[in-house]
């Protein structure tokens, strides 16, 4: 309280003599500029060093034939020209899109469905169910890959055992590219549900119960209530889940490394693996950076389209 004379500094509307004002302005400047600068300082530096710097470097690399060591030789757009004529690049990009288009809806539906069941007062054993369904979140993508590789082993897996026991023939989960992709999609839905489920649970709980009861009194059936009350109510969360799982799917790496290693052959090599393989295993850094730039443009486009869509709706 001894410092209460400082109070003019935080009451800018109070008139004071010019000398006091400039002094208090100085102090306000310190308060409102220096303090936040100190608080965000470290993260600003990290942002510049690990985001802006590599981003700029990547852009430069993409116009060179850099191989990780030696000098940079500018070769203009040659990397991009080569990239767009490279069928393995196209294959990786298309496969990534296919994976994203199939896995995102599955993750969305499963996490929203489970969240709804866990919020509904009609179900029993919700706490236990929540904990069990949440467990896959603890497991690293590498181990998720191992688990599903183990489940879907072609000659030894549990799934093929069940299928043959039921009288079917063994399914070539790892030698057929499309089936292998399916396993990856299941695995990613399994591993990706828990977190999105939490988001949906929070969003569903925020929908005022009175609103649902009012809709019920007005004669809305379950589907109508879902369509006209719940879905609009969770729209911001839905948007976030879709955007984030799309970006997450586009950069899937670890799980596939452990599950199929991009195989059979290179059929399920997704774009990040493509970048990793060309950049680190074949040390074509310039070429890989060009691929990175294409991925960056794709991700930005996805984010902007979804943001635009969200704005229009909201």
């Amino acid at each position: 309280m001894a410092n209460s004379t400082l109070s003019p500094a935080v009451r800018p509307e109070q008139p004071g003599s010019p000398a006091v004002r400039s002094k208090s302005q100085q102090r306000r400047r310190n308060r409102y500029v220096i303090a936040p600068l100190i608080l965000i300082g470290v993260n600003v530096v990290l942002f510049l060093v690990f985001f802006v710097w590599p981003g700029a470097l990547g852009l430069i690399y993409s116009f060179t034939d850099y191989r990780g060591v030696g000098k940079l030789n500018f070769i203009g757009l040659a990397n991009f020209q080569k990239l767009f004529a490279d069928s393995t690049f196209y294959a990786a990009l298309t496969r990534t899109f296919l994976y994203t288009v199939l896995s995102v809806p599955l993750v969305y539906v499963s996490s929203l469905g489970i969240a709804s069941l866990l919020v509904s007062k009609a179900t029993r054993g919700r706490t236990a169910a929540k904990v069990i369904i949440f467990l896959p979140w603890l497991i690293s993508p590498i181990v998720v890959g191992v688990i599903w590789k183990w489940m879907f082993g072609q000659d030894f897996g549990f799934v093929n055992f069940v299928i043959t026991t039921l009288g079917g023939g063994p399914v070539p989960w790892s030698s057929n590219g499309n089936l292998a992709l399916m396993v990856v999609i299941f695995a990613s839905a399994w591993g990706g549900t828990a977190f999105n489920m939490l988001l949906f649970i929070a969003a569903l709980k925020n929908i005022p119960e009175g609103l649902l009861e009012a809709a019920e009194l007005d004669g809305a059936n379950a589907w109508q209530r879902f369509r006209h009350v719940i879905l609009p109510g969770i729209a911001p969360t839905s948007f976030m889940v879709i955007l984030l799982s799309t970006i997450h799917a586009m950069k899937e790496f670890a799980m596939i490394q452990a599950l199929t290693n991009g195989g059979p052959g290179t059929e399920n090599t997704l774009i990040v693996q493509y970048i990793y393989k060309t950049g680190f295993e074949q040390s074509k850094v310039g070429y890989a950076s060009a691929a990175s730039m294409v991925l960056m443009v794709v991700l930005l486009a996805i984010a902007l389209i979804q943001l635009r869509f969200n704005k229009k709706k909201g």
Partner: protein
């Protein structure tokens, strides 16, 4: 929002018959919905259960048809072999160091940044907010090679610091704290200022303690991200001495002939620490209301 705030009294004033009807309806639905929920639980639990139970089977039983869910003969041999083959002590130490140090730094700097973004609205903070948003859309994976160059040029290659330092800035952490501090009334800040507290003192003495729940939640999330991280350690580490668990595990999966008993044992051992952490701090995770930009 106006209707939402009016709802509670309206719901309370409803004639009792309506709720009873609702309850009866709920009862009718209860059995089928519970059934659906638990079928889904079974589907989610099955891969993990099969995996866990398999890790207790002797190697000979792993592939012998017909398969059985419960091991016919329980054994810890897989774990013993895994422990002997894989230098777990080293990898645990490396991974724990990375996870703990990164978590402490992430939580602290996310709190600072989130607070500044929530409570100081000037050009600088607004601009940085946009920058942080951008990091969620352009993830690390996009700039692997140049990031590798940066790490090498900074002298961080092949060191645990090379994994720790770049992971400290996380958009999710910053957003979580920003969201939280936006809900803290500005009056609290103003009265502290009137009492003469310096800006940093306000943050450290009042705001940071207030944010304890977020602090714990982010700590657990961050720990999980770092424990399970693969891509950073993969590009930063070359010397097996510094390998983290995930990179070490992946080297067993990538082998020509997978030694399944060892791989199963090693995988199970690798998830135990997280299961423990989760068991202790479960409520912070399951009740987390993480509502903005989630990127690891």
């Amino acid at each position: 929002m106006a209707t939402a705030t009016k709802m509670p009294p309206a719901a309370g004033a409803k004639p009792p018959g309506k709720t009873r009807q609702g309850r009866a309806k709920r009862k009718n639905l209860s059995a089928p919905l519970t059934g659906v929920l638990w079928v889904i639980v079974a589907i989610y639990a099955l891969p993990l259960l099969w995996f866990l139970l398999s890790s207790f089977k002797p190697g000979s039983e792993l592939f012998s048809y017909p398969l059985s869910m419960i091991p016919r003969e329980w054994t810890f041999q897989g774990f013993v072999d895994a422990w002997a083959r894989v230098d777990f002590a080293r990898y645990f130490l490396n991974t724990a160091t990375v996870s703990l140090v990164t978590t402490v730094l992430t939580v602290f700097f996310s709190a600072c940044t989130g607070y500044a973004l929530a409570k100081y609205n000037n050009k600088g903070t607004r601009l940085f907010f946009v920058c942080i948003l951008a990091t969620t859309m352009l993830p690390t994976e996009v700039i692997l090679n140049p990031t590798f160059s940066v790490i090498r040029d900074l002298g961080l290659y092949n060191s645990l610091a090379g994994i720790i330092v770049p992971s400290v800035l996380t958009a999710t952490g910053v957003f979580m704290f920003r969201q939280f501090f936006l809900t803290v009334p500005d009056d609290l800040l103003h009265s502290a200022r009137i009492d003469g507290a310096s800006e940093l003192a306000i943050f450290f003495r009042i705001m940071l303690p207030l944010s304890k729940p977020i602090l714990f939640t982010l700590a657990i999330f961050s720990f999980q991200w770092r424990w399970n991280d693969y891509i950073w350690p993969l590009i930063v580490l070359n010397d097996p001495k510094w390998y983290t668990l995930q990179v070490a595990l992946r080297s067993i999966v990538g082998a020509e002939n997978i030694d399944w008993p060892v791989l199963l044992g090693a995988s199970v051992i690798s998830i135990l620490p997280l299961v423990l952490v989760f068991a202790v701090f479960q409520k912070y995770v399951l009740n987390a209301d993480v509502s903005a930009g989630l990127k690891d």
